[in-house]
């Protein structure tokens, strides 16, 4: 059962992924939080758990020296990309920064290929030449994986430009951080996107810190949903720890962009549990703050509780999902550990066409 649910959640094939099935009654929900049906909760649980376990494994492999350089984990933020991805249709593009493993898994990219790129092996999605921060998949409409803070915002706007140009009905989702939101090119992009009514959704993942700098120490306007106001771009603040709220907001934003009304900004209020990258002394926040977020707002725990209480799944059924996810992650790690390094001749390939 767990396996079936997982499949339904992948690659946009499940009912929950069709934008028009509109099963989450965002507007007619009794409580003010939009509701999920059982399939949607199961699908979200699978997707988020995969990211969580994958990232934990990455951290472990980094500790063993199998992954080098920078390695930015997505733990804590899983609901953002999973909820947004549930609101997309085939052909919608995704682009993000260097904290990209979760986005790639949510886009349906092969966990083995992602992990093997982290270890710099030939079976990696960039043949081992890109690393943790730089992976791409034309097939899954994932455009990277960028190391320069803010660069993805103009690039994502370019993806939207291409959709507009081709009139193909697709929307681009551009993810960036609270820190990245202060880069100048973000506002140059906002202006063009609004001016030309581009189908662009900007997802600001406000995890409260840019490296060691809290939002309030770097931003004069800390309400990121307002960052497009002077260009007339609508925005909302969203509980980024509740995958249902993310999905509902994602649907509104994507619908707005897809129907020719121009760009939309979603500020996802989220939290990263781990350090900025692996070597982060984390002196800029208290342990209590981190512990409180994990205990009270964990995005996966929220869904888990619903699965047990509302959908009456048994602990054993949840365990089965967990083992299946672990198996995928272990297989990926196994592959990434034993796959050979790239052939030395690869040094000189892929520079020009």
């Amino acid at each position: 059962m767990a396996v079936a649910a997982r499949k339904a959640g992948r690659a946009g094939s499940g009912a929950a992924n069709k934008p028009n099935s509109n099963k989450a009654p965002a507007k007619n929900a009794a409580s003010n939080s939009p509701q999920f049906d059982k399939d949607q909760d199961l699908s979200a649980y699978n997707e988020m758990l995969l990211i969580r376990r994958f990232e934990e494994k990455s951290g472990q492999m980094y500790g063993m020296g199998l992954i080098g350089g920078f390695c930015h984990l997505y733990i804590g933020q899983e609901a953002v990309v999973v909820g947004m991805q549930m609101a997309t249709i085939e052909g919608d593009q995704v682009i993000t920064g260097y904290r990209d493993h979760g986005h790639m898994l949510a886009c349906g990219m092969d966990p083995k290929g992602v992990m093997a790129e982290l270890t710099g092996r030939r079976g990696g999605l960039s043949k081992g030449k890109g690393g943790s921060m730089h992976m791409f998949s034309k097939e899954k409409h994932f455009y990277g994986g960028h190391g320069i803070v803010g660069a993805q915002v103009s690039l994502g706007t370019g993806l939207a430009f291409a959709n507009h140009y081709r009139e193909n009905g697709n929307v681009s989702l551009t993810y960036f951080g609270d820190g990245a939101a202060n880069q100048g090119q973000v506002y140059e992009s906002f202006n063009m996107a609004a001016l030309w009514k581009l189908p662009a959704v900007y997802v600001i993942e406000n995890n409260r810190y840019a490296m060691g700098t809290s939002v309030s120490r770097a931003s004069a306007q800390t309400d990121f949903s307002k960052r497009g106001l002077s260009f007339g771009i609508p925005g909302e603040q969203v509980d980024g720890m509740d995958v249902r709220a993310v999905y509902a907001a994602g649907q509104r934003a994507i619908e707005h962009a897809r129907t020719g009304k121009g760009p939309y900004i979603l500020e996802m209020q989220t939290y990263r549990y781990r350090g900025h990258s692996m070597s982060d002394p984390a002196k800029y926040r208290t342990k209590d703050e981190v512990a409180r977020m994990r205990e009270e707002f964990d995005p996966i725990e929220q869904v888990r509780r619903r699965l047990l209480e509302s959908w009456k799944l048994s602990e054993d059924e949840l365990k089965a999902i967990d083992s299946r996810v672990r198996e995928i992650v272990n297989e990926a790690a196994e592959f990434a550990t034993h796959d050979p390094e790239p052939d030395p001749s690869e040094l000189y390939t892929d520079i020009l066409l």
Binding site: Y62, G69, K129, M133, R217, S279, K283, P342, Y348, I351
Partner: protein, 482 residues
């Protein structure tokens, strides 16, 4: 199945750490994400989190143990339902702590994984020296800069890392001149992304040590604007890769204004930060921009190798009335060198230093390139080749006299840099030698450079992409016809 919990590495260069404190004890149940222990490195205290669920069956390395090597088993976790005592007894004996690390007097390339990178085989045709030197040129007398005279005889030397030397240079200049201030990302409260500005906030306060948002183009412009009024900003780029966001202000605003204003308005600003490849951080984080800045009139470009040059040159740079690009190197930050203990030690901008004298061949390099050059010189010595190694220290203005004087003596030259070959620093040096010492050359100049490819991530490819000691040795032998 019992699982060994290993000592993790929390940074690319960490080899060992102290197991400061266990937060769980034997017999405790743990689940993924639980904090098991705290470890300490020279940079920070960090937490070890559990990855798996189970019971902490045995602690193998106790609280307070120093020098625990990365990947040593530190505890054993028993799986669900597993007998704890069997799990504990299946554990290997605790590993002996790693021997105390010896601080290396010069960069230890082996440790950095840089020794003897295999040649990529791309060099074979260019190894062949060409025809005999021909047309005569005008020969002038050249004299090299005497770097020994920079430090008075009998001065006490203290060992210091490049990181500390840079920090001290900034602190001394900030004490000396109220107009000097530092700005950049994470320079204040975080104490610097690479800890170069450590302690400056505490001494000088938030007015003079300014944390900026991630807005390189904006704050570079703010720095230049402030410099127009006579303030002396030190603008830190977290790395020079990110200075590409700010390149317009560096070139169009900082470098050109003095000229455009007919000499009225200069910009005494220092742009500094790590440049070039670190380790395994991929193409967008590993670019050596020396040649880019070297190309622009109106800038001075400095790229020191040793801690004492880093200190003396940064102090001179802060006092200089021009815009300065000060290129540091992340791998050199932690290396220790002797630094003169003087109240006010400066090194002149624009003067190279003969790091090692020799009569057979001149090797010219700068920054981390010096590590290859010096190691190669040691190896060549064993084969009876005396290499003279010149550390450029300043790239623009380039100390042509020191290079040319050396080449007049040796007749042969090899340049070493991590940057790309085309239009690189080596190309510039070769052209100057050809212009000024053509008749003295016994062989064409050979450049050893980074390969002509973006920096790959994979460990094996990264090694191939960077220059190595073997390539320098091979190039020297080629110009010596050996």
């Amino acid at each position: 199945m019992a699982i060994d919990i290993l000592m993790p590495a929390l940074s690319p260069t960490m080899e060992q750490g102290k197991l400061a404190k266990w937060l769980k004890k034997e017999g405790d149940k743990v689940k993924p994400g639980d904090v098991l222990a705290e470890i300490e490195t020279d940079k920070a205290t960090m937490e070890v989190e559990a990855i798996d669920e189970g019971v902490l069956a045995k602690i193998l390395v106790s609280d307070g143990t120093d020098n625990v090597a990365v990947n040593t088993p530190i505890a054993v976790l028993a799986g669900e339902g597993e007998d704890m005592s069997t799990a504990a007894s299946s554990a290997k004996a605790p590993a002996a702590p790693a021997p105390e690390a010896q601080p290396a007097p010069t960069p230890d390339m082996e440790r950095e994984g840089m020794a003897d990178r295999p040649s990529a085989g791309a060099r074979t045709d260019s190894d062949r020296p060409f025809a005999e030197p021909a047309a005569p040129s005008i020969i002038q007398t050249r004299s090299s800069h005497d770097a020994m005279a920079e430090i008075p005889e009998g001065t006490e030397m203290v060992s210091m890392t490049v990181r500390e030397a840079l920090r001290d240079a900034m602190a001394e200049e900030m004490r000396r001149d109220e107009n000097v201030f530092v700005m950049g990302e994470e320079v204040a409260e975080y104490q610097g992304a690479y800890k170069v500005t450590q302690g400056l906030l505490q001494e000088f306060g938030a007015r003079r040590v300014v944390d900026t948002p991630i807005t390189e183009h904006g704050f570079a412009g703010v720095g230049v604007g402030a410099a127009f009024t006579g303030l002396r900003p030190i603008v830190e780029f977290m790395t020079f890769n990110f200075a590409m966001q700010a390149i317009d202000h560096i070139i169009n605003s900082a470098a050109k204004t003095l000229y455009m204003s007919g000499g009225q308005l200069g910009a005494p600003v220092v742009f500094r930060g790590p440049n070039g490849a670190a380790a395994r951080v991929g193409a967008q984080h590993s670019h050596d921009y020396s040649a880019w800045y070297s190309n622009v009139p109106g800038l001075k470009v400095i790229a020191p190798y040793s801690a004492s040059d880093a200190k003396g040159l940064l102090k001179s740079a802060i006092r200089d009335p021009n815009p300065i690009i000060f290129l540091e190197n992340e791998i050199l930050y932690g290396q220790s060198f002797p630094v003169p203990k003087l109240d006010d030690f400066t090194v002149p901008i624009g003067k190279a230093r003969i790091h090692r004298e020799g009569k057979d061949v001149t090797i010219v390099s700068f920054s981390i390139g010096m590590t290859y050059a010096l190691k190669a010189a040691q190896e060549l010595e064993k084969e009876g080749i005396q290499a003279e190694v010149i550390d450029l220290r300043t790239i623009r203005p380039m100390d042509t006299d020191t290079i040319v004087a050396s080449v007049m003596k040796t007749g042969r030259c090899v340049t070493v840099e991590e940057g790309f070959p085309q239009s690189g620093i080596g190309a510039e040096i070769a052209a100057r030698i050809m212009e000024h010492a053509f008749d003295y050359l016994d062989a064409p100049v050979i450049r050893v450079t980074g390969k002509d490819v973006p920096m790959p991530y994979a460990a094996n490819l990264e090694k191939l992409a960077l220059p190595n000691v073997g390539e320098v040795v091979q190039a020297v032998k080629a110009v010596c016809y050996r």
